[in-house]
């Protein structure tokens, strides 16, 4: 309500884009770890640094959509926010973050992380286009180019 619709969707689009870029960075870093180009501690420190910003931006986005009354978009975003929240809070008390250098190499956790990242990538990719659609539809809503106001349209000279 406090933001125009187009601005909300602009922010949505920006957040999605940023998270997409971040996820690509995640995948690259994890792949580096898998190929042994990177130390586990270094890798986890880099990844854990971005976990909170990622979750925070998405949570803020959710609030924004809720406040703007975009129910469908809100419901589409909610599962991911809940999942990210769960991921943050299921850690044990001695865990060093979502990506724990101590056991990232055991029990195939690295594979799980990579798979999760791929799923996130797909999700945000789809959501990016959904957001783009919403933005465009909000832009063209209300006849911004005034097609149907006959007076304004100069059809012939």
């Amino acid at each position: 309500m406090f933001l125009p619709e187009t601005a909300t969707f602009c922010i949505t689009l920006l957040v999605y884009g940023a998270i997409l870029l971040l996820l690509i960075y995640y995948v690259l870093t994890l792949a580096d770890l898998e190929c042994d180009y990177l130390n586990a501690q270094e890798c986890c420190r880099r990844l854990n640094f971005w976990v909170i910003p990622k979750f925070g931006s998405h949570a803020l986005l959710c609030v924004l959509l809720l406040l703007g009354g975009h129910w469908v978009m809100f419901l589409l975003n909610l599962p991911m926010v809940i999942w990210l929240f769960y991921e943050l809070h299921r850690q044990r008390r001695d865990s060093l973050g979502v990506y724990d250098p101590v056991d990232i190499h055991s029990r195939g956790l690295l594979k799980v992380h990579l798979r999760n990242c791929m799923i996130y990538l797909g999700y945000y990719f789809v959501m990016f286009f959904v957001g783009l659609y919403c933005l465009i539809s909000s832009l063209i809503k209300g006849d911004p180019i005034k097609r149907y106001e006959d007076d304004e349209i100069v059809t012939d000279f």
Partner: protein, 1184 residues
């Protein structure tokens, strides 16, 4: 971050140092020169310590030395080495009689002779290192034995070795015996006794003296290497031949036994009695023989029997028929049918020694007992053995034509008997567990042997005590593994103290260019210039100097290199393997001096032990030590030069700790020894009257880290209470009223402080070891994090009090071992597997730095590790797979070394074979580690359920694999390889780590779980399922020998102890007139029955009645008597493989300490847990 390049890439062309630059240890002058040139580019470095190997072997043992002649060595090497390569031809046949080793085919030739150096892997610092490294013996003294340096050390019973080689069944023979022969002769008396001779052509060839014993006199002209897989097994089947099999495959690295001990310790092989023990008839176990479980094999057998395969002499015929054998363990055992008309060698092998055991009369026909599926009557094995006449194999089946009723080949009885006999030989028989409750017999105890395909059958696999796989045949695909429901993994003890280890130094270490695998005995040589990596299958070039055989001055024979001959080898790493100069030995000790610590009084004992063994700590002239004490504050001790006593500095700001001065806190031990001793004397007095209840462990750790940061090293922490001050302070979490609850909480650490700290330490090559001597709950789960992730070790002494002398003794011996044992600094270990497999999960104390690289800031010889293996792709194309563990470390002398272990296993596509090849002990080792993970990640009851489900699944899978009828049949059929699984699983369920319903302190439980993760397998098994012996036989043995030994005291020294049978842990074996001994690893309990005869008590314990024993008696009293002496020797033998000798506790029947003993009888029922039989019934009910 990391100090070491994990990939260890040496430069492609390292310049060749000239003129002996690559000598280490400066030994060239000290060792007599041998004729013949040392190898170029590679030299063996005898280590300083092992005296036994520094003396050059007698020239007679080295025929090649003469053959090599006086060829001057290559110029760039001085020839001061003790060992060198020998020519493959080595002087033809002239020295054949005196010098049997040289006549061996090259691959069978013992490394002793051919060159792998006989050096000791343990470093020279410790004469007190352990008894393992004691008892030196020149290897050349037993030339006939012709074992590898390793095998020689273990196979020869000391002192018996050179003198009377034949009649002593050795370790080796026992291993093989138990795996082969006992299958036939399943009752507990074994009559092989080493009297039988195996008329194998190989034997004759290799050991000319033996051929004289051979009655057949055939095949004496045979030449060439033994071609069959079965050569080994056959040789091994006779106690005598096994002793001289040079290919010590089963236990190449078992340690040398101390003198006066029997060559085959019962603790390893159970009750491997050598014939003289009377057979309790009740202990015969009717082992089940499967009905035709494997139709392929059956038909193979039929073919072999009827189509007359060539006799083993026809060496040219057999090999071609073998390479495509699907079951290498199976077919080579086939009896050559043509020999039925001749003397049948096997019958001789299995023939009982007539004077020892007259064959008891057996009824010819015995119907199988009801409810036994596919089993044979109890007497059948004996029958088979006793009635086998030496003159022919084909005859004895006809003497008992119906001994195997119901078999599919019932019409052809001879085949059937052969079938059963051989299926036992191959370990393919089954047991109905419901019918055989006394399952712990010699036949079930030894680990299964790895039998490799023809190509590698002569290659020596890594010792099972170092590296063991849960399956000795690897399923070819993941789906096959899933069908078997068995866990796949390896348990490894990489830094184990071994007696003799080939140590070599070369200019460039040959490794695969793609996967960096070290060259090992299982690679394939494409030609003389190329080798194919057995892990990634890349074809690599061999460097020129690797093909050069320095003895013969020829190129080409690469198979003589020690790298290719020994599966465990140590390289002295060139400088490419270090990113910084090797660090000196650095030791920092952190003492808790709070009031609780003072009340326990550990500081006196610790300082005293430290003071006494200061000189024995491994290290060189650069060794540095430091001490920090902490209560609510941190106390530093400066031992700067010029001071005449140590200065104490106290740091009050524990929230932001800093170092009070940059130097003199860690001081050079050599230079400041007086100051250090002074400090150690003063410390206990200094804090004797402290009343500070605080313990600022976190702050002390942080300053310790700052102190060690520059170099890395070892931090030893003594903690006696919950850390409650400064960073890392903890709250008590345990609810004492809830100790026997079903669900155990707080197995997880409470904070990430200690874990973070450990990871930081790991990055700077610092390891933290923890001694927890707590009086009350100290949150072991959290504090032990400092050791878990930094490659340290944890020791726990609950309720330590200086007023309890046994605890003090126990702590002293533990701490002494800790101080004086070997140590490897800044270590990394990499596990490589054949393509298609990968390590899935690691267990142990370390930090996993990348997918297959473990970072171990310190590595110690008492640490074991486990790895779960998973499939990446199917192994259909592979015949064998390999695991290679390479441990790169800096030893205490500042030398960079790489220890490489390789194990090679065959691949199979058959489910029954997988099941029959399972190694129960390794499985238990891996399952217990997985269960600890499960209890921490989920909860304890999940882990307990997982144990039971694993057992049920395995037996279900076996039932399906064998196509057994489903439904409730009242049976629980198990392959012999997995017969002990329920027994051990029950032991685990009742172990303090996993038990519920019995009051267990949380710290004790967490420590037990930690032990599950880090103990090496042999100690873990003792921890899970203690060894119980009835020692009456020892006492009677002592009495009998009393008379004879009076004449000759020296004879008495040699006398081996009788082998005692291991008993299952059940009170049904106890009786009131006997004395029992239970070996739990760190504690040996001697249980004295109520009605033990007074003379026995007098002789053994020096008391006249049991009433004189107190409730808590520790230590074996010194009594001058044979019985006491024999018991001491027996305990010494039990202690032999342990890191430090166990505490002995004597428990009388009515003592209050009896509960400790009874608690460990895990086969029996307790209030909250099932008995073994009930457990079996539960399993059986679940197996559909």
């Amino acid at each position: 971050m990391s100090t070491y390049n994990p990939n260890f890439v040496p430069p492609a062309h390292a310049p060749m140092p000239l003129n002996g630059n690559n000598f280490v240890n400066g030994v060239q002058g000290s060792v007599p020169q041998q004729p013949g040139g040392p190898p170029p580019g590679q030299q063996y470095i005898p280590q300083k310590q092992p005296q036994q190997f520094q003396q050059p072997p007698p020239a007679a043992a080295f025929p090649g030395a003469g053959a090599a002649g006086n060829v001057p060595p290559p110029q760039q090497f001085k020839s001061g080495n003790t060992n060198q390569f020998l020519p493959p031809t080595s002087g033809a046949a002239t020295p054949l009689q005196q010098l049997p080793p040289s006549t061996l085919p090259p691959h069978l030739r013992p490394p002793t002779v051919n060159g792998p150096p006989i050096t000791n892997g343990s470093n020279g610092a410790s004469s007190a290192n352990s008894s393992r490294t004691a008892s030196p013996r020149p290897i050349g003294a037993a030339p006939q034995y012709a074992q590898g340096p390793i095998a020689a050390a273990l196979n020869n019973p000391p002192l018996a070795s050179g003198l009377r080689p034949s009649p002593q069944p050795t370790h080796q023979s026992l291993t093989n015996l138990t795996s082969n022969l006992e299958n036939l002769n399943l009752n507990t008396t074994r009559a092989n006794g080493g009297t039988s001779v195996l008329p194998q052509p190989q034997t004759q060839l290799q050991y000319p003296p033996l051929t004289q014993k051979d009655g057949r006199g055939v095949a004496s002209a045979q030449t060439g290497p033994p071609q069959f897989n079965d050569a080994k097994s056959l040789l091994a089947a006779s106690g005598e031949a096994a002793a001289i099999v040079p290919n010590a495959m089963a236990t190449p690295f078992s340690v040398q036994k101390p003198p006066n001990l029997a060559p085959n310790p019962a603790k390893m092989y159970g009750s491997a009695s050598v014939g003289s023990r009377p057979t309790p008839a009740g202990q015969r176990i009717p082992y089940g023989v499967p009905p035709p479980t494997n139709p392929e094999q059956q038909s193979q057998q039929n073919n072999n029997l009827q189509n007359a395969p060539p006799p083993p002499r026809a060496g040219a015929v057999w090999p071609p028929s073998l390479p495509n054998v699907a079951a290498p363990g199976a077919q080579p055992m086939m009896p050559p049918a043509q020999q039925t008309s001749q003397t049948y060698p096997y019958s001789q092998v299995y023939q009982p020694a007539p004077q020892q055991q007259p064959p008891p009369p057996q009824p010819a026909v015995q119907p199988p007992p009801p409810g036994m599926f596919g089993t044979q009557p109890a007497g059948a094995p004996l029958q088979y053995q006793a009635q086998a006449p030496p003159q022919g194999y084909g005859q004895h089946p006809q003497q008992q034509p119906q001994s195997a009723p119901g078999g599919p080949y019932g019409t052809s009885a001879p085949l059937n008997v052969a079938q059963q006999g051989f299926s036992r030989l191959w370990g393919q028989d089954t047991i109905d567990l419901m019918q055989n409750r006394h399952i712990l017999t010699p036949a079930t105890l030894p680990p299964p042997k790895v039998v490799l395909h023809n190509q590698f059958h002569e290659s020596i696999n890594c010792s099972p005590s170092i590296m063991r796989c849960t399956l000795t045949k690897i399923p070819e695909s993941n789906s096959l593994l899933q069908k078997s429901r068995l866990p796949l993994g390896i348990v490894i003890h990489p830094f184990r103290d071994v007696n003799s280890l080939p140590v070599i130094q070369c200019i460039n270490i040959v490794r695969c260019r793609l996967c960096r695998t070290y060259i090992n005995p299982f690679v394939y040589f494409v030609d003389s210039k190329m080798w194919k990596c057995n892990l990634c299958y890349r074809v690599n070039e061999l460097p020129d100097d690797f093909q050069f055989d320095p003895a013969t001055k020829t190129y080409g024979d690469v198979t003589r290199r020690p790298e290719v001959r020994s599966s465990t080898i140590e390289f002295i790493a060139p400088s490419e393997y270090m990113l910084r100069p090797p660090q000196p030995a650095m030791y920092l000790f952190l003492f808790d001096v709070s009031i609780i610590a003072q009340q326990s009084g550990y500081l006196e004992a610790a300082c005293a032990v430290l003071n006494r063994h200061l000189d024995e700590m491994p290290g060189d002239a650069r060794t540095q030590v430091g001490f920090i004490c902490f209560d609510s504050f941190v106390h530093f001790y400066s031992m700067a030069e010029g001071l005449n006593q140590p200065h104490e500095m106290t740091l009050l700001d524990i929230e932001d700790p800093f170092l009070p001065r940059p130097d003199s806190l860690l001081v050079n031990l050599k230079e400041c020894k007086e100051l250090v001793r002074d400090l150690l004397k003063q410390l206990p007095k200094r804090f004797a009257h402290t009343h500070d209840p605080g313990s600022a462990l976190g702050a002390a750790l942080q300053v310790a880290f700052k102190l060690m940061q520059a170099s890395g090293g070892r931090i030893t922490v003594f903690q006696s209470c919950l850390p409650n001050k400064g960073p890392g302070a903890l709250e008590p979490r345990e609810d004492p009223n809830n100790r026997s609850a079903k669900d155990v909480a707080h197995l997880n650490p409470a904070t990430d402080f200690y874990k973070r700290f450990a990871l930081e330490c790991s990055g700077y090559q610092i390891a933290c070891d923890l001694f927890l001597m707590n009086q009350q709950y100290s949150d072991m789960a959290t504090i032990s994090g400092i050791s878990k992730h930094s490659g340290g070790c944890v020791h726990h002494f609950p309720l330590y009090q200086k007023t309890k002398p046994h605890m003090v003794d126990s702590f002293r011996s533990c701490f002494k071992r800790y101080l004086t044992r070997k140590i490897g600094f800044e270590a990394v270990m990499r596990i490589r597997c054949t393509r298609g497999l990968q390590v899935h999960t690691f267990h142990g104390n370390f930090f996993v730095r990348s997918t297959d690289l473990l970072s171990l800031p310190n590595v110690n010889p008492d640490a074991g590790y486990g790895m779960q293996i998973s499939y990446e792709e199917s192994l259909t194309d592979a015949k064998t797979i390999c695991f290679q563990a390479a441990l790169l470390y800096t030893n205490s002398e500042g030398e960079r070394r790489i220890r490489v272990h390789t194990v090679c296993l065959p691949v199979t596509a058959s489910l029954p074979e997988v099941m029959h090849s399972a190694d129960t002990e390794a499985i238990i080792g891996l399952l217990s580690k997985m269960a600890v993970d499960r209890s921490v990640a989920s909860n304890l009851s999940d882990a307990r359920d997982a144990f039971i489900n694993a057992t049920i699944d395995v037996y279900n899978a076996f039932k399906i694999a064998q196509n057994l009828p489903s439904g409730q049949s009242g049976q629980l059929i198990a392959p012999r390889s997995l017969a002990l699984l329920p027994l051990y699983i029950l032991g685990l369920l009742k172990h303090p780590a996993f038990r519920v319903g019995t009051s267990t302190r949380l710290d004790d439980r967490v420590y037990a779980m930690d032990c599950m993760k880090t103990l090496p397998l042999d100690q873990l098994m003792m921890y899970v399922y203690p060894e119980l012996y009835k020692i009456d036989a020892l006492i009677y043995h002592a009495r009998n020998s009393n008379i004879s030994s009076n004449q000759d005291d020296d004879e008495d020294e040699d006398e081996p102890l009788p082998e005692l049978p291991r008993l299952q842990l059940s009170a049904e074996h106890l009786d009131s007139r006997s004395i029992f001994l239970m070996d739990c690893g760190t504690l040996i309990m001697i249980y004295v029955g109520l009605n033990v005869p007074p003379d026995v008590l007098e002789a053994v314990l020096g008391i006249s009645s049991t009433a004189e024993l107190g409730d808590y008696v520790y230590g074996l009293p010194n009594v001058v008597s044979n019985e006491n002496d024999v018991l001491k020797r027996f305990i010494l033998r039990l202690n032999y493989d342990k890191p430090y000798s166990a505490l002995v506790q004597i428990i009388r029947d009515t003592s209050t300490a009896k509960g400790q003993f009874i608690e460990r009888l895990t086969d029996d029922r307790s209030e909250s847990s099932l008995s073994y039989y009930e457990f079996l019934q539960h399993i059986r009910a679940q197996v559909k």
